[in-house]
Amino acid sequence: MSRKVYLDNAATTRVKKEVIEEMNNYFDKFYGNPSSQLYELGRKSKEAVEKARRTIAEFLNADEKEIYFTAGGTEADNWALKGVAFANLNKGKNHIITSKIEHHAILNTCKYLEKFGVETTYLDVDKYGLVDLEQLKKAIKPETMLISIMFANNEIGTIQPIEEIGKIAKENKILFHVDGVQALGSVKIDVQKQNIDLLSMSAHKIGGPKGIGALYIRKGTRIDNFVHGGGQERGRRAGTEGVQNIVGFGKAVEIVKRDFDSYLERVTALRDRLIEGIQKNIPHVILNGHPTKRLANNVNFSYKYVEGESILLLLDMEGISASSGSACTSGSLDPSHVLLATGLDHGTAHGSIRFTLNEEITEEDIDYTIETMKKIIEKLRSMSPIKNDEDLKNS
């Protein structure tokens, strides 16, 4: 079978041609250091960086002075949490509220900060992966300095009520950080309307290059600088700018903005075709995440009585790339913390597969995926000693 279907766009995306073309100018043509303002090559680079910054700022309804480039989403998350914590710990604030289904860039940073006296509340989620706003309100203390909630979950695609959380944060004068890495390009982000104080972003999830991201920091936010050195990024994140990457990021956002409505319409329809096809053709499946409040490109199912890594290997043989929440694919002992937080038992969580689409996928690709999955699940189930829920309980 020669068909190749890449359905792991939440892991990373193919860099768009227009993005590559734009980036290519900044390797051997305009290679000046943006800090070298006294000659043209340097000024060209500086202009390119500032143009990208403006594009991103406008897309978020932010000011360009509020956008800081980082090496990616993980660095932006690290900066937001550590920067706020270290700037506020000596002001009698030591409490962070986040959720159990955040990316490890958040969870492991919180764990690190706990060594410095930070206390973290990890909010539960319901079976769809939504945080409970009442639990959030109850968790707020006088010491709370930051609420950090992801806009949309990378595994199950659930979109949180960010505007309402932003309101709660504002009413209680608490900073609000949003990990927007998966949401950027799929959800309308408006930092004013949604009262977001800090927003993490990454380029490679939206057709941009790897190794570049940004943190939006609302003017007046009490946050420490992150990388100490020269005066780049207004002295807050030093180091010579990755000009070609920043240019690529800017171009990717420009394209996302241009194609936003058509992308959403097309990908949502493909997503629903895949969801319905799987539900119709394969018995004993559970849709993970929210049925409607989910990212346009995310399909995540648990296939009972089979294990995810086996499914991925068989999919790969048929030319389909996907990912799994099984422990076997992560090298850890437990399956995905996100799936466990939604209440799935370990056995079922091990059998979960995530497909994440993009606009290049066709209806034929979707139908081929459904057909292939049907065969794979049948094959693995015929080999499994677990045939039903009773077996699962008794084993």
């Binding site: 080999m383 499994s384 699962l392 084993s395």
Partner: protein
Amino acid sequence: MYTEAVMDHFRNPRNVGSIENADGVGQVGNPKCGDIMKIYLKIKDDIIEDVKFETFGCGSAIASSSMATELIKGKSIHEAVTMTNKAVIEALGGLPPVKVHCSVLAEQAVKSALYDYAQKTNKVIKGLENYKPEDDEVHCH
């Protein structure tokens, strides 16, 4: 990440299925860890005439079960009981370090099925005198 032998046994597993009225059946692992192996034995005159397996688990779990059944098929129960997880790994041309537990599970599944046979027939199999299946009810590796 996997050797050709692992992929071969994963793609075309040998001896998949179950045996009705098997002389010995062993099941080890649990769904929490993501691996369960069940081995069925047909035994005549202490010789393993037929063996089948069912496995819930990752690629290397399926390949390890398949290889283990190949290693014991046609052997006497006294030979089969000496099959180690190392033999399974060797026959597969190696396993990634994080997957070594799959071969351990395969060894345990064989022992557990042989134990079941010994219990049912009141036989003593050297090497299984102190074997307790519940000891294999391990925490995830």
